[in-house]
Subunit: 305 residues, 2 copies
């Protein structure tokens, strides 16, 4: 350990399909350092996980083994080690991270279990820890938590438990279609046209079954009518979020809804819900995973005390 | 030209987003040779088209310039040269290929125009030539022609004209989701479960708005309930084709329908339609593009005679 480098009492790890984020934590919950890379689960073979983690956290390790608490796809069948799901209903604040063997003796690894639902079949990995973090902040919450992202979750929470949930591939479809499909030629990487987004949401909500056709219409309007790449991006976003809202209607209609995610994306969901008469609270999910991992870390400390 | 190589009177070229197919044709319509490559429009920069074509057709060229008639995305804005669309209603059998300059004097290139529709905005490139080929075979056809593929087209044909059409990105979505999304871990490259396909079609037709959720359910059922990769492939196919049929209902309900495509895929559309009480005729679209290009070649010969 080089002089001046941060030392971690424990390390929080959010390891999703496409990103790896790590925090050097002090025992009192303050953040001493943080780092991130694109070494998501999706790009790693089983023996690639430990090197990818060490690349980021090595400067924080010392002579005493440091507990590492990780959540997300790192615990899936394609991850570092498969950690079984807990089934709903379950209290995310009571989930115990599972010890996993490592090659390097400087870390003691624990991975959070995901949560599954038998019918309709559904799974989450990582969001259970975000929800645990949310419930640390709002212990009495009773309602719907929407977590938009690659795989958006709509979660019914009551009495500190996940009652049921439903996943939509909206974020992944947006990325695949905007970056890999024929539409990529006419879709901007940035920029937004709010009015077009909102009209696309309304359009999708009224005729949700026409998705595959309206997607191609974005291409055709670009070619024939000069639809700008920014407008095309907004329209694609609106079509996909609108289609999701149409399917998730039982989750938000007449419910108290909190949308927690990256703020720009969460705000889009908030706007789309507002247009349907639902005043959703929008918040930045940034700290939630880390807070949830901190709660899980206390259960390790208790176990090993 | 090496001894024994085929010489072409003209060359037919079907140049789509992902594939390039060429035929060395005799003036009397017989095929002297054929070749194909993965040099589709999607992977080529503007100056890559001519070398990609010559790589396949060079053995067929001689001292006299050979007419080359091409259709498909080769004529799009991202293609070799942009050839303007003709608008519906239009007779595909009367479309004139447009001369395009080449570096190599051994070929005389002509590219077919695509067909566009102002409202709802839609475009085709390549299918107009398939339709022209179909109308050479069935000149009196009045009804709906479905051309399943990367971008499936539903085309209303009457009195030798394309009256209207509608495009669905179903094939491209199938490829992206089965090969690039998180579902790829649980989807077989081959194999099929007909019963599961049919139940997914029925499910999608009854609740078409739930697509983004049911896609993730395929992942969840694979993880939790041991859904086999073959069954997952069939279910994804059924979900996407069912959603398409739900949106295309005005095109097939109570109509005479012909489905022309790769036989295995066209048969799936035929089965799905059959389950809705529509007896569609299923045929192999393989020869149609070449027949349509042959019709276009005769208009060049007439022009330059």
């Amino acid at each position: 350990m080089s002089a001046g480098a941060a030392y971690a009492d424990w390390i929080a790890v959010d390891w999703g399909t496409s990103r790896l984020r790590v925090w050097a934590m002090a025992a009192d919950g303050t953040i001493r350092a943080e780092a991130a890379s694109d070494d998501g689960m999706g790009g790693l073979a089983r023996d690639g996980f430990e090197p990818a983690l060490l690349k980021l956290v090595a400067p924080w390790l010392g002579s005493v083994p440091v507990p590492v608490v990780a959540c997300g796809m790192v615990g899936s069948r394609q991850g570092w080690a498969e950690v079984p799901y807990r089934t709903v209903p379950c209290a995310p604040g009571a989930l115990q991270p599972v010890p996993v063997a490592t090659q390097d003796g400087r870390i003691r690894l624990f991975i959070m279990p995901g949560v599954s639902q038998a019918k309709p079949a559904d799974v989450m990995r990582g969001e259970e820890t975000q929800i645990a973090g949310f419930l640390v902040e709002e212990p009495g919450f009773d309602g719907i938590l929407c977590l938009p992202g690659t795989h958006t979750k709509w979660v019914h929470i009551s009495a500190g438990e996940i009652v049921s949930f439903q996943t939509f591939m909206t974020g992944e479809l947006f990325r695949l279609i905007s970056e890999e499909s024929v539409l990529r030629h006419g879709i901007a990487a940035e920029g937004f046209d709010q009015a077009r987004f909102e009209s696309a949401v309304a359009d999708a909500l009224s005729r949700p079954e026409r998705l595959a056709q309206r997607l191609f219409a974005i291409r055709a309007e670009g070619v024939l009518q000069g639809l700008t790449p920014e407008a095309a991006r907004s329209q694609l976003s609106g079509e996909l979020i609108g289609a999701e809202l149409a399917a998730a209607r039982p989750y938000w209609l007449g419910q108290e809804v909190v949308v927690a995610g990256a703020l720009a994306l969460a705000a889009l969901y908030g706007d789309a819900l507002q247009a349907q008469g639902v005043s959703a609270q929008v918040l930045d999910a940034g700290p939630l995973t880390r807070i949830g991992l901190g709660r899980a870390y206390t259960t390790i400390s208790e176990t090993t005390a």
